[in-house]
């Protein structure tokens, strides 16, 4: 009950007009940041951090976390409209969101994405409010072996479910792993595969690859197909929001499942990206119209968006209670906390009640404000698709180039993006799936690091991945996901032979 009283006190703090104004500003900035591929939430928050030093800490964190929510919302927009994921966790949203937009349903896709984001975030905030101390303790049980198991599960739940032959999926994933290996090997401290080229010291950034593979690749494909942009007949009308809302409750099961996956991934902290991929994969497996995923199924938008937002929100919990950021943006916010003289960690909830509960209350309000802001803009976003391709394509190209440049302020990255664009075009022509490649670039080095840390700790014994109940369960789940189709086939054969 004390928590509830604290929360209401927090609402009182967050509802001050000054703070509400900061919320609206933060959300709007965040959406803009999310829309620009490359300028991710982490960069946006880092750039704006110094501006907040003159504010009281509670107001400052409210504004910054609203930028964070805004970026989470905004990432979905370009994914759905142009097949360009602005953030790593929006990649899975493109799989069904973009086909929907092409079928003239961008409004539905955007509404579904925004609403599910809101649902996911709300679920996570409620969890933070009610069980924060409990969940924070759970995160402590995640050592390197447990983390690797989670990544393993993310990869496995992806391999079996591709429509393409599994070997094409694995081939694409391996290219991703190879690209992820470039740069500094964080375990030995040695440079790998850089061939003395300074620009490669940093490895291949996920964002550059994605902007090229998806954005540029898509433009090349559209050019080949006769310069037609297929979203032209999009209805631009606020009624689409209400129509979609009527449809959504039917997918409550997917939502709930995605919320749980998201919270788990956010707290552990593996982050929003594996959450969105895993949730998409599992939804595809379990949904009634799962076979239709990838062709513009609204459930395929709901699943990743819900999970990503739930994870993004839940990621703030380990940051506040343990001082471990669950996402790059959370890492920057963490830096902010320290600068404002707040020490994240177990004592924060005890000593800085007003700050913590003000922040939690602002999560409720910030997401609500965010939802209203982005939903009212749905018709405007959808209308973008009516602009002729001849005008919009150069704009997208410029946007992509700016995005790629702003990741590291380097023109080399812009070249790299173009190269990735051509590769993306070729891979699509040969029917290689791009998603596993992207997944491997994002999670490859993290998985490798966790794997090698575990083995260092266990003196090289693989038994560490089955050394306790938690890690064994996750690994077993991963193996089941990997061989699911084989298991299914075996089971049905067994049944027919029995009959």
């Amino acid at each position: 009950m004390e928590e509830l009283a604290n929360l209401f006190h927090g609402f009182a703090v967050a509802l001050q007009p000054y703070n509400i104004m900061l919320m609206v500003i933060g959300i709007t900035l965040g959406v803009l940041i999310g829309v620009l591929p490359g300028l991710g939430g982490a960069n946006g928050v880092a750039i704006l951090l110094p501006l907040t030093f003159s504010m009281p800490p509670t107001s400052a964190i409210i504004m910054l976390s609203c930028i964070y929510w805004g970026a989470l919302f905004g990432g979905a927009i370009t994914s759905i409209l142009f097949n360009i994921p602005g953030e790593p966790w929006s990649v899975a949203t493109t799989f069904d969101g973009y086909p929907m937009a092409q079928q003239g349903k961008p409004g539905e896709a955007l509404t579904a994405a925004f609403t599910s984001s809101f649902v996911g975030a709300l679920f996570a905030v409620v969890m933070i409010t009610l069980v924060a101390p409990l969940v924070a303790g759970f995160a402590l049980r995640f050592g390197p072996a447990e983390k690797f198991a989670v990544y393993f599960l993310a990869f496995c739940s992806f391999v079996g479910l591709s429509k393409e032959p599994p070997f094409k999926t694995i081939a694409a994933m391996m290219i991703g792993f190879a690209l992820a290996a470039v740069g500094l090997d964080s375990i030995t401290g040695q440079l790998r595969l850089t061939f003395g080229i300074t620009e490669l010291l940093n490895g291949f950034d996920f964002l550059i690859a994605v902007i090229g593979l998806f954005g540029i690749g898509e433009i090349l494909l559209t050019m080949e197909e006769g310069l037609a942009f297929r979203g032209g007949k999009a209805s631009i009308n606020l009624r689409v929001v209400l129509q979609t809302w009527r449809e959504l409750p039917a997918y409550w099961m997917t939502s709930l499942r995605s919320c749980l996956i998201g919270c788990w991934m956010g707290v552990t902290p593996a982050g929003a990206t594996p959450a969105s991929f895993m949730s998409y994969g599992i939804a595809k497996r379990l949904a009634r119209r799962g076979n239709n995923f990838g062709k513009g199924e609204i459930e395929g938008v709901i699943a990743p968006e819900t999970a990503a937002h739930a994870a993004g929100t839940a990621a703030l919990l380990p940051m506040l209670s343990l001082g471990v950021p669950g996402s790059p943006t959370a890492a920057v916010l963490l830096g902010g906390l320290l600068i404002w003289g707040l020490q994240p960690g177990p004592m924060l909830f005890v000593e800085q009640k007003e700050f913590v509960w003000g922040l939690i209350a602002s999560m409720y309000l910030g997401n609500l404000v965010g939802l209203i802001v982005v939903l009212t803009c749905v018709p405007i976003f959808a209308a973008i698709l009516r602009v002729p391709f001849g005008i919009i394509a150069p704009l997208i190209l410029v946007l992509c180039a700016i995005g790629a440049y702003s990741v590291h302020n380097s023109t080399f990255d812009v070249m790299l993006m173009l190269v990735f664009g051509v590769i993306g075009y070729l891979l699509k022509k040969c029917n290689y799936p791009l998603a596993p490649l992207v997944l491997a670039i994002v999670l490859g080095d993290k998985a490798e690091e966790a794997f090698r840390q575990s083995l260092l700790g266990s003196q090289g014994s693989l038994g560490v991945f089955f050394s306790n109940g938690l890690v064994s369960t996750i690994m077993a789940l991963g193996l089941v996901a990997l061989f699911w189709s084989a298991i299914q086939e075996g089971y049905s054969r067994l049944r027919t032979s029995m009959a």
Binding site: G143, I187, H408, E449
Partner: protein, 334 residues
Amino acid sequence: MKPFVLNVALAAMVMSCASSTASRAAWEPVRPVEFIVPAGTGGGADQMARTIQGIVTKHNLMKQPLVVINKAGGAGGEGFLDVKTSANNPHKIIITLSNLFTTPLATGIPFNWKDLTPVAMLALDEFVLWVNAEKPYSSVKDYVEAAKKAPSGTFKMGGTGSKQEDQIITVGIEKAIDAKFTYIPYKGGGEVAVQLVGNHVDSTVNNPIEAVAQWRGGKLRPLCVFDAQPMAYDEPIADGKAWKDIPTCKSQGLAMEYLMLRGIFMSPKATKDQVEYYVELFKKVRATPEWQEFMKSGAFNTTFLTGADYAKWIEAEEKRHESLMKEAGFLASN
């Protein structure tokens, strides 16, 4: 009336002449200054750089904006090479950590601190030996005994990065007490502290700021500090103990000392005026209450050096890193 007006006009002319010669003599940035951080966002160097940026903005210490840019690739090599190739560009400064020495030695990238222009040492970061508070050892002696008793290689030390400061200290401890640890590298200091709280490693050498929250929460216990004298801060943190009450490792029979540079360099071929401008700027930053609060929260050693003293300190420290890393077998093979 007339002479008075004339006098005023004359005085104004003299004044304006004087001020214009003054501004001609002292250099000042004419466009935004890039503040390179050769490490990722959220880490110790990044926090310090962003604090400085905040202080400069809040107190209006510069006429041009100061822009923090992270160039973390190749253990910071990306950032160092960027500044190295910006000769004659006085609008670029870089904050360094120990990777100023360790990165070129371990990876063999073509860089040495002499490629840059030293500006000032802002502070030195301390290292403390931490263990989980549930563990029975409450002194360095108990810790050393436990480490020696454990079968070779099963005692786990967690740290930030590979072949960098944390691992150098670990090798130093191994030598000092004749035991073999397994060093497990993680990406960031906060993560290392939490791995210790979760008992996934047996000890760490976290900087004070990375582990203080867990100390206050009663999860971690500091055993000793790797400095020649105890830290200066006497405000109680946990259980009535202050940073000052942590003994030096040397006094506890663990002969290892290590401090990490938090210093500023600028691009090559900077003129004396340009260096002087930044030295004055950082003197002003150091005088602000925000900076002092920041120093206290991280229990920093506040030594401030510039000019020849600074260069001499770096040179000695470079030699020391070279020999430490050579002994540990961390030097790049080429």
